[in-house]
């Protein structure tokens, strides 16, 4: 298997923050959602992948090339950072001329389509656009670069509902090719549900999990009991809500315990995606 992005033994130490060490291998054809609380290290990881932040130790490879040794990989990746530095004094048309000249595979037809579908304003200077307007323009300047890998750092946080639906459709269509790779850091559950295949969960600089969505929602099961539970900690217990509801990460062990102690449950359900992620990030 050849990976689009390989992160090996990555570690970055700063005065007040430590990222890693961890490994992360991303396959082509998949959409990865990078999730985690503010300050978890998502943007730092993305910047490290883009060689904008130097790791303390470890290696990053993009389509096989080490990012700190070569330059050619830069054509293979379209990166949308959270802060669009240097955009302010220019309007969309000027920015498009600049960006398209840097990417030889620039897809002008796709750019025009995005501008039309998302109603992107090309005349106002970047700094005078609303946060949503800025995000739309930045997306219109990123997706048509026609690179095999796109990295978007919180691309949809300010975008209106209608434009967001259009954008998610557009990105799904962009992935049709089957060999492309999309990574998006996001706080929006809808982005994950509709678009992501894999979810990478980060907390305090560590990578807690990298799993496909279906595997992820099998993590936790909630049981509703007939009678109050004993106060001792139960097998796989992660959380308790009141005296009759418990969440476990080990169904088999818990059910063995419950049947040994002749405790009956009324219902059990696996936690949905949103609650699974929240629980992982807070427990």
């Amino acid at each position: 298997m050849s990976y689009s992005i390989e992160v090996k033994d990555l570690q970055k130490t700063r005065d007040d923050f430590e990222l890693g060490p961890f490994n992360l291998n991303i396959e082509p054809g998949l959409v990865t959602a990078l999730v985690g609380s503010n300050g978890a290290g998502k943007s730092t990881l993305l910047k490290t992948i883009m060689n904008l932040v130097k790791p303390t130790s470890g290696d990053i490879r993009i389509l096989g090339s080490y990012v700190n040794h070569t330059e050619s990989w830069k054509q293979d990746i379209a990166y949308l950072p959270q802060n669009k530095l240097g955009h302010d004094p220019f309007n969309g048309m000027q920015l498009k001329e600049l960006v398209s000249s840097l990417y030889p595979n620039w897809d002008e037809a796709l750019f025009k389509r995005i501008v039309k579908d998302l109603d992107v304003n090309l005349k106002k200077n970047f700094k005078n656009l609303s946060p949503g307007g800025q995000q739309k323009l930045a997306l219109a300047l990123t997706i048509p670069r026609n690179a095999p890998i796109i990295i978007l750092d919180e691309p949809t946080s300010h975008i209106d509902i209608v434009s967001k639906t259009i954008l998610l459709d557009l990105l799904a269509e962009w992935m049709e090719d089957g060999e492309r790779t999309l990574i998006l850091a996001t706080h929006q559950v809808e982005d994950i549900r509709k678009l992501a295949d894999m979810v990478a969960i980060m907390k305090d600089g560590n990578l807690l999990a990298y799993k496909d969505k279906e595997a992820l929602i099998e993590t936790y099961t909630q049981y509703w009991m007939v009678d109050p539970l004993p106060t001792e900690s139960l097998p796989g217990e992660v959380r308790r809500k009141g005296s009759k509801t418990v969440i476990t990460n080990d169904e088999t062990e818990l059910e063995d315990y419950l049947s040994q102690h002749q405790l009956k449950w009324l219902n059990k359900e696996t936690l949905n995606l949103e609650n699974t992620i929240s629980l992982m990030l807070t427990k």
């Binding site: 459709d169 049709e176 279906e214």
Partner: protein
């Protein structure tokens, strides 16, 4: 096109299996005729809010069993399946649905007699 597939996260049946079974049922019941174009793996994944890994697995199994065929560069289509297989799946689908309904009734302490009343009056 959007397929009328409904997934249950709470079912013991894996998601890829649910997709596979429901597409088979749509084919067996004639709702999806031979030659009908099916959504791409990515499009179906988005509709069903599952990963392409899961959808791909369902499509691969369906293709292996001869229910669908993929033509390079053209997409995925419903295959021509024979009448006896269609019949078999139809019976399977109905039997599964009934088994589930009977299970629910027994869970609620319904007697066989009470169940029979339902069948007769339906």
């Amino acid at each position: 096109m959007e397929l009328p597939i409904k997934l249950s996260e709470q079912s013991r049946e894996p998601i890829y299996h649910q997709i596979e079974h429901q597409i088979k049922a749509l084919i067996a019941s004639g709702q999806l005729e031979a030659g009908t174009s099916l959504p791409s793996i990515r499009a179906l994944s988005k509709d069903l809010e599952v990963s392409v890994i899961t959808t791909r697995r369902a499509y691969q199994n369906l293709e292996y069993e001869g229910f669908i065929k993929t033509l390079q560069g053209k997409g995925t289509f419903v295959a021509d399946i024979n009448v006896s297989l269609k019949k078999e799946i139809k019976e399977d689908t109905v039997a599964n649905a009934l088994r589930k309904a009977i299970g629910t009734a027994y869970q609620h302490n319904y007697s066989k007699k009470k169940l029979n009343v339902y069948l007769i009056n339906y």
